[in-house]
Subunit: 298 residues, 2 copies
């Protein structure tokens, strides 16, 4: 049995996965804010899964943690996890000290990529396109995470696609993330609605021209991210995940429409079958926790 934990900005998912990779237990906790509270959240998650499975921490074949921010997978150190209130934390080392066993720490998007790959039974090459506050992709090649030479493979949210675009937090202009992410939508469509992107799509469906323009830019940005992933790595599948993926078929439909529009003007793009490569992550499945349980296995 393996244990996987995904520490998100507000919620923490924890799962137990059996030797066949099937999810056998699942719990959800509120995530604490700041160094101590994040560590306690992880400890509590291990304890809860331990109760459900009857296993002590040392009884699991492996324990893996997915966490936002920059992760040094060798040392288990996490940096710049702003949503968790972490500037820098020796999460791997401190958690190992508390549990008495080693843990593996991985960036949450990369963990989700691995989880989605296994959950969907994919083979070959896949990208998990995470549309959360920001945009980033996790790339899996033949069942293994592709980290690249310096660990920044898949950071496609900071590829500029429009010299006339708005300034991005990264210091560049017109990055994909400025139009195709939660923060990109929030900037263009300020609202008190607790589900801002859903509110945007509702307004667009009701014919609001500003909302229509923003959703069109969002869909075009996602389609551009798919094109980037195919024309560089040539991934066979792009799985759309992250907070924006909860829009489900409505979002996928808009993206498909953009991709089909492109095919009408470009025989080259039409030959790549971009629409056929894109799918949504399964709804209500803790893919990042599942992937965290599998991290390091391969």
């Amino acid at each position: 049995m393996r244990l996987g934990i995904d520490i998100g900005g507000t919620k923490t998912d924890a799962v137990a996965v059996d030797e066949l990779g099937a999810l056998t237990q699942r719990v959800r906790l509120a995530t604490g804010f700041g160094h101590d509270a994040v560590l306690e959240t992880a400890v509590a998650a291990v304890a809860r899964i331990g109760e459900l499975t009857g296993l002590a921490p040392g009884g699991f074949q492996s324990i893996g943690i997915g966490v936002p921010g920059m992760v040094d997978t060798a040392s288990g150190q996490v940096a710049h996890a702003v949503n968790l209130g972490l500037e820098q934390l020796e999460l791997g080392g401190m958690l190992a000290g508390r549990l008495g066993v080693g843990v593996r720490v991985e960036n949450d998007v990369k963990a989700a990529a691995l989880g989605a790959y296994h959950l969907l039974g994919l083979t070959g090459t896949m990208a998990f396109l995470n549309l959360g506050t920001g945009m980033a992709a996790g790339i899996v090649v033949d069942g293994r995470l592709w980290r690249g030479s310096t660990g920044i493979a898949g950071e496609i949210g900071h590829l500029p696609v429009d010299p006339q675009g708005v300034l991005c937090a990264c210091g560049q202009r017109g990055c994909l993330e400025t139009v195709a992410s939660g923060s990109g939508v929030a900037r263009q469509w300020p609202t008190d609605d607790p589900l801002p992107v859903r509110a945007l799509f509702l307004a667009a469906a009701e014919g609001d021209p500003a909302a229509r323009a923003i959703t069109a830019r969002l869909a075009a940005g996602i389609a551009s991210a798919v094109r980037v992933l195919v024309l560089t790595v040539d991934v066979g599948t792009v799985v759309i995940g992250g907070g924006l993926s909860h829009l489900g078929e409505r979002l996928l439909g808009e993206v498909h429409e953009v991709l089909h529009d492109w095919e009408r003007t470009s025989p080259f793009l039409a030959s790549l079958d971009l629409p056929g490569r894109v799918r949504l992550v399964p709804e209500d499945t803790p893919v990042a926790a599942l992937g965290a349980a599998l991290v390091g296995e391969n």
Copy 2:
């Protein structure tokens, strides 16, 4: 001993490579135009290297051919090699019939990527950014060519980066290739000079404002290609090759200038050390023929 041939639009390079990967013989022939002439060129290249090494075709450990266009590496079929006058040719099968031994056929940019990787003694991940008539990259991972799921990995010349850009032959607008390739320069700077890009750089050095603008767009396009390759695959090295690379340090200097400019406004980009990842392919080395000799070995 291995034999490698690179069939270019005007010249064909052929090399013999010993078991340590060192180049021992090299010849250059004019390339014929059209199906029959291309096949005869390849046969003549094998004969010339055979004379120099004293080996019959069957005496080589392998024979590999690099050729422009779409290559089916399994069947040895070449399609859409416009510069060679080939719509479709069973190059692998027909050449094997003529020589009495099997040959391996690979796209010339991919062959050059493999050749440059070995010639430069690289490890890890590299992209060979070919700036010829068009723009495309060959990606090498741990000494092996990365082809992707459908063989189009590295076709970054057709990534649009400017919605206001010119129409590309592929049907899209503002592709990298429209500004950062031989054809892109030729469109903007029509000239009878036999070395049009050299003439452009000379005019720019003499202060011609139009030439300055075109070289600036060229350098920015190359820098953008480097950024794409690093933010997707995270290659440790980008080797600039192809016809435009003959501009040498002048071109590399312009590209470095763009990358350093970006670093001044983006701490994110500065953290990636893009300038430190870029280098030129060694001058006057038949990297594609060398790579063709190594194709299939790994």
